[in-house]
């Protein structure tokens, strides 16, 4: 690979400064995504995957603050841009789709106006041009009678259709990077497959780069090229989807893959005992220690660093 990565995140740290202590929600995260590639950030609730995405856009909710690191989109460091320029990047170069389409759409605006707004703001289109383009976008995301639908309000559409609208809004300015935060979690299974197919097709057509955030390892296996597994604010394992699924190295990744109920296999489910550590406490050593089935000598005292075990596969664990 001689091409530079589209997105390059180095040592990103985002902390929440609460009254009862500092929560290290994103704790020294590094990853990169090449143009046209999909990276999946995987982990359970509270592991910091959504906060990582919001940090990239500099949209962390209070009392969160980015305290360190670099985020390069092509050759620009997003963390050091003035606010005005950052505003131009959001929705234009980087677009995001969220889990819950009903809460991300404005309930009192017609669908057409919501798509047209993006085009008018970022590309200076006139109202008429924007509406015409909006109709085209709707048919691209698989909504029939697109002219009619422009006049609908969000509540008149089903969950799957609303997510299609969100995708149309995200794609309106042809972003270089699409962040999809649990895009199908709120949808029924048969609709979920439709939406993932649509995303994959549009991504290929437009050569888009994608950061997919998901807790569903099934979705990740079928849709991502690379995967980064997060635990307690850190990446514990990263690599190509093929290597990580075939040969998971970190005990957390191994546990996650084992405790998924799979069709056609009725046996007792292994579990990961215990629960996430309290991120407010000062911890030394490996954050997974309390839940690890096979800790070794340095685990309690020294924090393991992430290191490459084989090409395209690295892990944060003292066993290796």
């Amino acid at each position: 690979m001689t091409m530079p990565p589209r997105l390059d995140v180095q040592n990103l740290q985002s902390f929440f400064f609460t009254r009862s202590g500092i929560i290290k929600a994103v704790n020294d995260i590094s990853f990169s995504i090449d143009p046209g590639e999909t990276l999946a950030l995987v982990g359970e609730s509270g592991c910091g995957k959504s906060m990582t995405a919001l940090s990239l856009l500099r949209l962390l909710p209070e009392p969160g603050k980015i305290v360190g690191g670099e985020v390069f989109l092509d050759d620009r460091d997003l963390l050091r841009l003035p606010d005005v320029e950052m505003r131009r990047i959001r929705g234009n170069d980087i677009a995001m789709i969220f889990q819950e389409p009903m809460t991300s759409l404005n309930p009192v605006l017609r669908i057409g106006e919501q798509i047209a707004e993006v085009l008018r703001l970022h590309q200076g289109a006139t109202k008429q041009q924007a509406l015409k383009q909006a109709a085209e976008l709707l048919s691209q995301v698989g909504i029939s009678d697109s002219k009619q639908r422009l006049r609908d309000y969000p509540h008149q559409l089903s969950g799957g259709q609303r997510q299609r609208i969100m995708i149309a809004i995200a794609l309106a300015c042809d972003p270089k990077l699409l962040i999809a935060d649990e895009p199908t979690t709120a949808l029924d299974v048969t609709i979920q497959a439709q939406i993932m197919d649509l995303l994959l097709e549009l991504k290929q057509q437009r050569q888009m780069t994608m950061l997919l955030i998901s807790h569903d390892l099934g979705i990740v296996a079928g849709n991502a090229d690379k995967i980064a597994v997060m635990y307690a604010g850190q990446i514990v394992e990263a690599g190509t989807v093929k290597r990580v699924f075939e040969n998971p190295l970190h005990p957390y990744t191994q546990g996650l893959l084992q405790c998924i109920p799979r069709l056609g296999q009725q046996h007792d489910l292994p579990t990961i005992p215990g629960q996430l550590p309290d991120l407010k406490e000062q911890m030394t050593g490996c954050l997974f220690l309390d839940r690890c089935p096979g800790p070794c000598a340095p685990c309690g005292n020294q924090t393991p660093q992430i290191k490459e075990i084989e090409p395209d596969h690295s892990v944060r664990c003292w066993r290796y």
Partner: protein
């Protein structure tokens, strides 16, 4: 018939429930048939899975069984006694024997009550323990679900989602029920916690011979816990058989589509096959077979005639005109 009544803990016959839809001025604008003539039974110690997508009537079915909703037609029998038409006073002794676990462990526990108080309440209402033994009983329940005595004085907000779900389960178990209706008990939980809760539920079944009706949209979870599975689509049961058979030989195209849509955590497995079209509105269902607009096997019969649920093999019920063809599109 008599034989089934004796063997079954629960028998549901031709249950039907509709809701009147109103427009913004309060006028009746249509009728939504949520549960449309469904029948099944649940044996002692068995888990029946109810699976389907949103709006298919699976949660309404759970509420109808517990008489939390009044059915329009049909009957519910619990160990041979008819529940439909009972007054709430008459229903009381049965409430102790049937319990429910809810999806959202955040909204199903009273935030102002300590966990101890939440667990004492059912014991007091049903007079199951003398005052002197109440505390011991509560601690015993907490330990049963993997919590400890020190959790007794805490409030629900101090717990994680998985721990709250454990409290919900302890509350259901407090009255030593025979049947538990679990409505999406793990869908709000993380993967590693989900497995813990599923194992906990299965452990109680082994120890106490409980029966479960397990309602979920996730076919992989349902298949994991159920002995038999009923697949619902727009208020009707379209296929009902044992879990293994359903997975190996689905005979309804919708079951086949659901199986195909489950994403497999294996990058070499084919991507899930998408089913075309949207779930139709239950207010205005399609003609003939409700599934025909999305069905790859559909022909003119399907558009005109509603297929009846019939036994195609031993203990395998299907409502489809083309059962012999189904399986052609199965991904493996």
């Amino acid at each position: 018939m008599l034989e089934i009544l004796i063997l079954s803990l629960l028998e549901v016959k031709n249950l039907r429930k509709s809701f009147r839809m109103r427009d913004s001025l309060g006028r009746t604008s249509g009728q939504l048939v949520a549960v449309n003539d469904i029948s099944f039974h649940v044996k002692q110690g068995e888990t029946l899975g109810l699976v389907g997508e949103s709006g298919c009537g699976k949660s309404t079915t759970g509420k109808l069984i517990l008489q939390l909703l009044q059915a329009d037609a049909g009957q519910v029998f619990f160990s041979g006694d008819e529940l439909t038409g009972l007054t709430s006073r008459q229903m009381r002794p049965y409430r102790r024997r049937m319990q429910m676990i809810f999806q959202d462990p955040f909204s199903s526990l009273n935030p102002r009550m300590t966990v101890g108080a939440i667990l004492r309440e059912p014991l007091l209402i049903h007079r199951l323990a003398p005052a002197s033994q109440l505390r011991d009983r509560v601690i015993e329940l907490l330990e049963k679900v993997g919590l400890t005595a020190e959790h007794e004085q805490r409030f629900p907000h101090e717990f994680s989602g998985g721990q709250r779900q454990r409290v919900g389960i302890a509350r259901a178990l407090a009255v030593e029920p025979q049947l538990i209706i679990a409505d999406e008990p793990v869908s709000a939980l993380d993967l590693s916690v989900q497995a813990q809760i599923l194992n906990l539920l299965q452990g109680f079944q082994k120890d106490h011979g409980l029966s479960y009706i397990f309602i979920a949209h996730d076919l992989a979870v349902i298949e994991h816990v159920s002995d038999r599975i009923a697949v619902m689509y727009l208020g009707k049961i379209v296929e009902l058989t044992n879990a293994k058979e359903l997975y190996k030989h689905p005979q309804h195209p919708y079951t086949e589509a659901l199986l195909n849509a489950v994403p497999t955590p294996d990058p070499d497995h084919p991507r899930p096959a998408a089913l075309s079209g949207e779930i139709p509105s239950p207010v205005n269902p399609p003609s003939g077979c409700y599934f025909h607009p999305r069905c790859p096997y559909a022909d003119s019969i399907c558009r005109q005639q509603e297929p009846q649920l019939r036994e195609t093999d031993m203990d395998h019920l299907v409502a489809c005109h083309h059962t012999d063809q189904v399986g052609r599109y199965r991904l493996t």
